[in-house]
Subunit: 164 residues, 2 copies
DNA sequence: CAAGGATATTTGCAAATGCATTTAAATCTG
DNA sequence: CAGATTTAAATGCATTTGCAAATATCCTTG
């Protein structure tokens, strides 16, 4: 009996190997959560004395690169919930680090501007972020790092929901 | 004038390139936060209907691989604050998925056992985790994936605080 | 071997978070 | 072009989180 009698709409994928077979330390999501957990925690501890939380620090970092984004885009770029971001912006604005400004073309939307003071704060903070980055990549040469970042870019393209 | 007159305890590092020069999309911590943010959010949404939160899901996943760990080690492996983990374990224990048992050799410490029911739940849940993993690595071949995981392992070794 | 310090876990409590809703404005549709 | 729908951001509120303190046990050292 040939298989023409059996409908095969999809060739069944082989069953996923068990996590125990892969091993935690070969499982990319586990490793990435561990690494980013540590990275974010150590940065958070270092920033605490500057009165900066993780959301506030991320906002400054993104604004140092991206000019006057909409809040909705800033939420994607900083990986912060929009409501949480809204409150982080309240604080940053109260401290004079950023400025909200209604978009001229769409008055529902708000653009965020980094102030001089916000830029100065970020410049004081960047060496610490940079050190954390250097620690992470210690013993990893340029070629390996570039390949690694290339893979990350593919992964982000695979799973992101937003085009930015 | 030779440099023997000048103390040079450390050759000053070149100043870190600015984030704007690197570009967000070439900056590994940014990419990793974006990717894991998406990965964790989509998993969380999928698990919500099973009554599983991220901490609870991670506990089941780790327990499917590691036999009866101490709570303190489970906190490291799941990347969850110990107090948060303690409460997640309360819930899982109430639902009959895990069992706390005082370590016979040290009665301060508690070991966590996965019950039959907990294992069954994880087995129902694993294909979804596996799918999320597959989506993430779509278009990335085995050699690239292995190199990527190798780099992750180096990074974790660089920054981890705990030997496990 | 007792006192002091260290370690494992839980718990109280304030702060942070995120969902759902609200408000306001833009866009679509018949 | 009026009404319905969508989109952007802020906010109310319940839940979750994490720090610090409490509790219990173990280890060290004089």
């Amino acid at each position: 009996m040939t298989d023409q009698s059996q409908p095969k709409p999809e060739p069944a994928n082989p069953p996923a190997p068990r996590l125990g077979e892969i091993g935690l330390s070969n499982y990319a999501p586990y490793l990435m959560n561990r690494i980013m957990g540590r990275y974010n925690a150590s940065l958070r501890d270092e920033m605490a004395d500057l009165g900066l939380t993780t959301p506030k620090m991320r906002v400054l970092a993104v604004l140092s690169v991206i000019e006057a984004p909409l809040i909705r885009d800033l939420a994607v770029l900083t990986v912060i919930e929009q409501s949480t971001l809204s409150r982080a912006l309240d604080q940053l604005a109260a401290e004079g680090m950023v400025r909200r400004q209604t978009d001229p073309a769409d008055s529902r939307a708000t653009r965020i501007y980094l102030t001089k003071s916000g830029r100065t704060t970020f410049e004081a903070l960047w060496p610490r972020m940079s050190d954390a980055h250097a620690r992470m990549f210690k013993g990893i040469d340029d070629a390996e790092r570039r390949a690694f970042v290339g893979t990350l870019q593919k992964m982000l393209a695979n799973i992101r929901k937003h085009e930015i």
